[in-house]
Symmetry: C2
Subunit: 187 residues, 2 copies
DNA sequence: GTCTATAGCTAGATAGAC
DNA sequence: GTCTATCTAGCTATAGAC
């Protein structure tokens, strides 16, 4: 057994960078291999199913980050809601590099990506909504208002990511996170 | 001179459908030719510069729709602001097929598309912000508040398009348009 | 103005050496 | 576990017949 040139974890993180910025069709196996310091044939040893399973694995990692750093924080039983929301929003800022990095879900949400990963992307966005709905109720809002706040939060995150990407202006994303926080704290 | 199989206008509209749903890398010249009932070699007669100029032309058409149906409406001197905003939002609903169609700017905003069209996409989004800022002032809001409302509108449109696309739920987009209208009318 | 044919390249994927 | 070499299919693009 030869040693791995790069760990699975590290390779996944590097490939995430490519995929979230170039999308499914725009990311070649050559590109994906190179960011790991590998040749593309080597990727088939780690991902025998090819590109689809490779991206699947990166998508799972990305989703795992949310489950671990955002969803589980928001739905935790202890702590005050304000502390939980603040921590979750800080994690979101981290995951999106303060607006400098795209959302992988969005990057994969063009037709080719949606055909393959649509169901999972939908499912994960649903979890997002549920966990934000949870924190809304935790703040004392009624169910309907909590649902609305959750949806508005997700809309604002996705929209501000699109725009901070187009304008190359991270401030736009940061301020939107603050706006979301204020929508829960009651402006 | 043989007659065209399909008019430039019609071909552009058909190709827009492909590009906005599949992005730059995901749309092959073969796909783009077929929706016009042509072979891909024929596209080089209309667009001698190849794929880049072809997409450029579709992008120009898309931007023209906004200039004509949205920006010019919002900045018109006559009429009451409410009527202008209502008309503009109705046009936006039309352009995005009530949330069923993607934004071409977003579809082209992955890395490969941004390298080529980034400057124009940025410029057009700036025009969007300016025209919404204009209507804000028209409603009597101060400059700062008008700028904020404009930015929030664009964020909400882009975000709700991403989500209505992911969830396959146009209601989400329609309700966001209403939300934007209300943000100008003072809830 | 559109077509067939094809060049030249790069994509995803596989075989087998080391 | 990674590599070189290679296959096939698809891509963008061009040449030239009709």
């Amino acid at each position: 057994m030869r040693p791995q040139k790069i760990s699975d974890q590290e390779l996944t993180v590097n490939m995430l960078e490519i995929l979230r910025s170039r999308g499914y069709d725009g990311s070649s196996l050559n590109d994906l291999a190179l960011v790991g310091g590998l040749k593309k044939a080597s990727l088939y040893h780690r991902y025998p199913g090819g590109k689809e399973t490779l991206v699947q694995s990166v998508l799972d990692h990305f989703t795992g980050e949310f489950e671990h750093r955002v969803f589980s924080v928001l739905t935790a039983k202890k702590k005050k809601p304000k502390k939980k929301l603040t921590a979750a929003l800080r994690s979101i800022a981290l995951i999106y590099d303060n607006g400098g990095a795209n959302c992988l879900y969005r990057a994969l949400s063009m037709q080719s990506g949606m055909e393959i990963f649509g169901a999972q992307i939908r499912e994960n966005c649903q979890k997002w909504l549920k966990s934000f709905e949870h924190i809304g109720k935790d703040f004392g809002f009624k169910k309907k208002k909590s649902k609305l706040l959750a949806l508005e939060s997700l809309i604002k995150i996705q929209g501000s990511l699109v725009l901070s990407n187009i304008f190359g202006d991270r401030k736009l994303f940061i301020e939107t996170l603050n706006d979301i926080k204020n929508s829960y704290l009651g402006n």
